[in-house]
């Protein structure tokens, strides 16, 4: 109570700081968004202006209509990110469930192995993975992008922790009702794991959608590029045509932002999950 007089000044200062930081956060995005609606002449000439004077959709038309590969890249990105996400959800939960609940020979060994895998830097496995994919003819293919990424030790661990703390009674009741392990997993466990699955889905999707290192190592045919590689090609091809590059960037960012806006709660949850409890 005694603090109120000084408090409001402090509060005001805090709001000012928060607003300043919000501006710092937003400016690059707004600047890119506004450039994507400007003709090139307006971008290179004259003083910077945030609202386009000659509003145009030509940049978007250019990349969608004149760049035949843009659609292909978008398609590739969607196919890969969606497959990787769905497979991760299924396989990580299966492994996490087995490690938390089922009894089988060698369980401790596999759990230990997964914890070890967590600590190995990706750079070590990158070159051998490239050579293994080359040996089995999977370079430059969807399966080469999807299969090595379809399970994830971090999320297996996360799912295990989730299932360990899960009340056992429902599963036991289902077992008495004659459901087998797969039935219990499919009908009881998965539906109840929705929050953990949603958090994981957002994380895996974003990771795959934005991934640059793996595709640049295993995809070399422009037809097979994902959008990040495509954008990087645009950068070389449209040197200083920032209007096109920014329009393409915005198209690429939109799905991720949409998912983020929609699943924001789960996203924050998963960050804290991997952070606080990992």
């Amino acid at each position: 109570m005694t603090k109120i007089a000084g408090f409001s000044w402090l509060k005001a200062l805090l709001y000012v700081l928060l607003t300043l930081y919000a501006i710092v956060t937003l400016i690059p995005f707004l600047w890119a968004l506004s450039a994507s609606f400007k003709p090139l002449a307006e971008i290179v000439g004259g003083k910077p202006n945030f609202l386009p004077k000659n509003f145009t959709l030509d940049n978007y038309k250019q990349i969608f209509l004149q760049e035949p590969l843009f659609w292909r890249w978008l398609f590739n990105s969607v196919v890969i990110a969606v497959s990787v996400t769905l497979l991760n959800l299924l396989l990580n939960s299966m492994a996490g469930y087995a490690l938390a609940r089922l009894r089988f020979v060698g369980k401790r060994f596999w759990f230990f192995l997964i914890l070890t895998v967590l600590a190995v830097p990706a750079q070590i496995t990158l070159i051998p993975t490239f050579l293994i994919l080359k040996a089995i003819g999977w370079l430059n293919s969807y399966q080469g992008m999807i299969v090595p990424s379809m399970v994830n030790a971090t999320f297996i661990f996360m799912m295990r922790q989730f299932f360990v703390n899960f009340p056992k009674e429902l599963e036991e009741a289902a077992q008495l009702d004659g459901l087998n392990t797969f039935g219990i997993f499919r009908h009881i466990v998965l539906p109840l794991a929705k929050p953990a699955l949603a958090a994981q889905a957002v994380f895996v999707f974003m990771g795959s959608w934005n991934n640059f290192l793996l595709p640049i190592v295993i995809l070399f045919d422009p037809e097979m590029f994902t959008l990040p590689l495509g954008l990087n090609t645009f950068k070389g091809q449209y040197i200083s045509y920032w209007n096109y590059i920014m329009a393409a960037s915005m198209v690429f960012t939109l799905p991720a932002l949409g998912i983020y806006a929609f699943f924001n709660r789960y996203f924050i949850q998963s960050v804290t999950f991997t952070g606080g409890k990992g």
């Binding site: 750079q123 070590i124 190592v217 960012t253």
Partner: protein, 302 residues
């Protein structure tokens, strides 16, 4: 209960359960085996070979020569120095910034969730897109120089001047990564019991003292995590350097990082064995720093 009893009565033989366990684990075992465990062993093997990639693949055992070559390779030292400088500036800055933002948001501000959603935007945006936007902003006649000139500060050739190119990437990554750690701090702050602050207030501690004597010590495990993850992430800098420099690490090796060097060893010079050796060097550095850090933080649980 039911399960435990059954297990006890028949401790060794329970084939159905073993079978179910392995059916659940099989995809994971296959994928991690083929694309993590096998590659680790393969990497050890590669690092001791001279590898020829001409159509097929040929190996020639050369012992530790890939590793001795590391010490003589000037670009390895440049990459290590750049990466170390990058880690040394980015990790402390983003950690402090994340903490400040989290504490500010946690101080009873209105619309906390909206601020958080907004601040988090750069973290969900792809590094490719962010790097392209920043390259454009960093242009000699780009937005940043316009702003600097406007407020009367010196302008720079952010992309072309070796003295500032890496700093440009640092600024961008602090900006884009801090919000991620802010969210982690925010969650941890919410777990600190309010009663501790009330007690301290009764004892006459002001807000600053409460922060120093209650908040900071209780956040120590989280800070360990934030710094550890920050160190691991920053040592692996690649996307931004690659896109910034078009894969060269330029200007004049100013943005050459260790991972970019690995990439170049593989795809420009086709030296898989040497690349594997650089990868092990990187892993050793990361592991060493993480261990030192654990010591400094007094053996936290992670």
């Amino acid at each position: 209960m039911f399960e435990i009893n059954r297990r006890r009565s028949n401790p060794r033989l329970n084939i159905t359960e073993d079978l179910a366990g392995y059916m659940f684990m099989m995809p994971t075992i296959l994928v991690l085996g083929t694309f993590v465990v096998l590659p680790i062993l393969y990497a050890v093997f590669l690092s001791l070979q001279k590898v020829q990639l001409l159509g097929g693949i040929e190996y020639e055992f050369i012992g530790f020569r890939n590793f001795t070559r590391l010490a003589e390779d000037e670009r390895v030292w440049i990459a290590l120095r750049n990466t170390a400088a990058y880690v040394a500036i980015v990790v402390p800055t983003q950690t402090v910034l994340a903490l400040i933002l989290a504490v500010t948001l946690n101080s009873g501000i209105r619309g906390k969730n909206w601020w958080r959603i907004l601040y988090f935007l750069p973290t969900v945006t792809s590094s490719t897109v962010l790097t392209l936007i920043f390259i454009w902003i960093y242009n000699t006649d780009g937005l940043l120089n316009d702003f600097l000139a406007f407020v009367g500060l010196p302008t720079y050739n952010w992309l072309g001047d070796p003295a500032v190119a890496l700093k440009g990437i640092m600024i961008m990554n602090i900006w884009s990564t801090a919000p991620f750690f802010m969210v982690i701090y925010l969650a941890a702050l919410q777990d600190i019991p309010q009663t501790l602050y009330e007690a301290a207030e009764l004892d006459g501690a002001n807000e600053w003292q409460q922060f120093i004597y209650i908040t900071l010590p209780l956040l120590k495990p989280v800070t360990f995590f934030v710094v550890a993850v920050g160190v691991i992430g920053t040592f692996q800098l690649f996307d931004q350097s690659y896109i910034f420099s078009g894969g060269t690490g330029g200007p004049n090796n100013a943005t050459l990082t260790v991972v970019l060097l690995i990439y170049q060893a593989v795809f420009r010079n086709l030296q898989m064995g040497y690349a594997a050796a650089i990868a092990f060097l990187l892993a050793a550095v990361i592991i060493a720093i993480t261990l030192i850090q654990r010591r400094l933080f007094g053996g936290e649980r992670i």
